[in-house]
């Protein structure tokens, strides 16, 4: 599989870059920690465990959304240094492999932050989930992939706009609303144990498949936009 080889080469490159600088991970980890502290001050979760269960799903995803926004904004501007992006455009490798490699790299970064963040959540917010906790192992990666694949695509898109830092949330949030809705409701369903998250997991799977295909198909157009 030559295509897979290209994807892995891009992935290796991104992981190595991150391993050497650790910019994203440090920034995202500290940022999400700050968001958690601010939310805890606003809602006082330890005194009201029922409310903590109700809102934690939403807070977790909002914190992750903001954190991944900061990282995604950087992930393509990295390629602008020394005109690396132009070199990629000239290379005969398929453009979508470039996208998939970077999306997987971003997925791994955000997942790492997510694992740390979930533990911090359980400790700081005194959480006792009432539903099937193991389902989170399915919901978290699916939700993260929905955020990251669209986010990687739209940050490549906003790379060519004038104020790209602002442009990414402006285009990403409206498109991601169904995914956000599904991941928040699924997580809340697991935490509170009130309802079954099955429907929302299906929505997330559909969303992931549809938008990953759309991104892969349209990425070549975006990369060679001008």
């Amino acid at each position: 599989m030559i295509y897979l080889g290209h994807v892995l080469a891009h992935l290796r490159k991104d992981l190595r870059l991150e391993w050497r600088s650790k910019d994203f991970l440090n920034g995202m980890l500290f940022f999400t920690l700050l968001v958690l502290v601010v939310f805890a001050i606003a809602f006082d979760p330890t005194s009201y465990p029922a409310i903590a269960r109700q809102i934690s799903g939403g807070l977790l995803w909002v914190a992750l959304l903001f954190a991944s926004m900061t990282a995604l904004n950087q992930s393509w501007s990295r390629e602008l240094r020394n005109n690396v992006l132009d070199a990629h455009r000239l290379s005969p490798a398929p453009a979508s492999a470039f996208f998939v490699g970077k999306a997987i790299a971003n997925f791994l970064f955000v997942t790492f932050v997510e694992i740390v963040l979930s533990l911090v959540f359980v400790l700081f917010y005194n959480l006792h989930p009432l539903g099937d906790t193991w389902l989170l192992l399915l919901i978290l990666p699916l939700g993260t992939w929905a955020l990251v694949s669209n986010g990687t695509f739209f940050s490549a898109l906003s790379l060519r706009t004038r104020n790209r830092e602002l442009m990414l949330p402006i285009v990403l949030f409206p498109i991601s609303i169904p995914a956000l809705l599904a991941m928040i409701l699924a997580t809340t369903a697991v935490l509170t144990g009130d309802s079954s998250p099955a429907l929302w997991i299906k929505v997330l799977i559909t969303y992931d498949i549809v938008f990953t295909i759309a991104s892969v198909l349209l990425f070549d157009t975006i990369l060679n936009a001008d």
Partner: protein, 250 residues
């Protein structure tokens, strides 16, 4: 509609006639809306419905035009650049119309909601989906505004066409997921909606206003399209001029 794109400064006669016809139908629609019998429960406040209904229905039509034009743009981009630019102008015009009609639909809907339910806004399935439609196309217009150094670069057209395709895919998913969300938690205020059947006595007013706002929407769409085509032409003339005269800065 292509006839407006010729180089003459004059507005073609048929466009003027069409404009007058639109104004006449708008006036007649207004007359019908104001002279329709007063509704039993809401009194005269219900008359906002004659404006709310056409705007909401039509704001679901323009996104499809936008999506189709964006697909055509992507298809023609390398095959027929001149035609692709026309498709892009049409995509821009239809996106602006979507935002305009959805804004009027939201505003009149809120007036209606205040009168019928006593609250301006409810997070029920339809209202939420509709708000998201509005948000999607506002973000589309913002992307167009922010991309590229000049508003008509091919960069803008490609990026916004990609976003338009994403938005078009997003709408059905959004619609379904919000419906599921709200059927799990039914909203108490919903159920007194206007679509639970209307009396035939209101049909003329509804249909005339529908026709009037359809004509008006098509007029604005054509006007905006012609304007954008002119801007594109002025831009390409300027580029040709810059290329033909020796200058170092563009």
């Amino acid at each position: 509609m292509n006839n407006t794109a010729n180089n003459s400064k004059r507005i073609p006669l048929w466009a003027q006639a069409y404009f007058l016809l639109t104004l006449a139908v708008l006036a007649f629609g207004f007359h019908k809306a104001m002279t329709a019998p007063t509704e039993a429960t809401m009194g005269n406040l219900y008359r906002v419905f004659f404006y709310h209904f056409p705007h909401t229905i039509l704001s679901f039509v323009f996104p499809y035009l936008n999506c189709a034009a964006s697909f055509l743009y992507l298809f023609w981009r390398s095959r027929n650049p001149a035609r692709a630019r026309a498709a892009d102008a049409f995509a821009l015009a239809s996106a602006e119309l979507t935002v305009l009609y959805a804004s009027v639909g939201l505003a009149t809907g809120m007036l209606w909601g205040r009168a019928a339910w006593g609250i301006w806004w409810a997070w029920d399935a339809r209202l939420t989906t509709y708000l998201l439609l509005w948000l999607l196309y506002v973000s589309y217009l913002l992307l167009r505004r922010f991309s590229g150094d000049d508003p008509g670069s091919s960069n803008t057209a490609v990026l916004s066409a990609a976003l338009a395709v994403f938005a078009a895919i997003d709408i059905p998913i959004c619609y379904m997921s919000i419906r599921w969300w709200r059927t799990q938690h039914p909203s108490p205020v919903f159920g007194g909606g206007a679509d639970s059947g209307i009396d035939p006595v209101f049909f003329p007013a509804v249909l005339w206003n529908m026709a009037a706002w359809l004509l008006w929407g098509a007029f604005i769409l054509g006007l905006r399209y012609a304007l954008e085509r002119r801007r594109q032409r002025a831009h390409s003339d300027l580029s040709l001029h810059t290329i033909s005269t020796p200058q170092e800065s563009l």
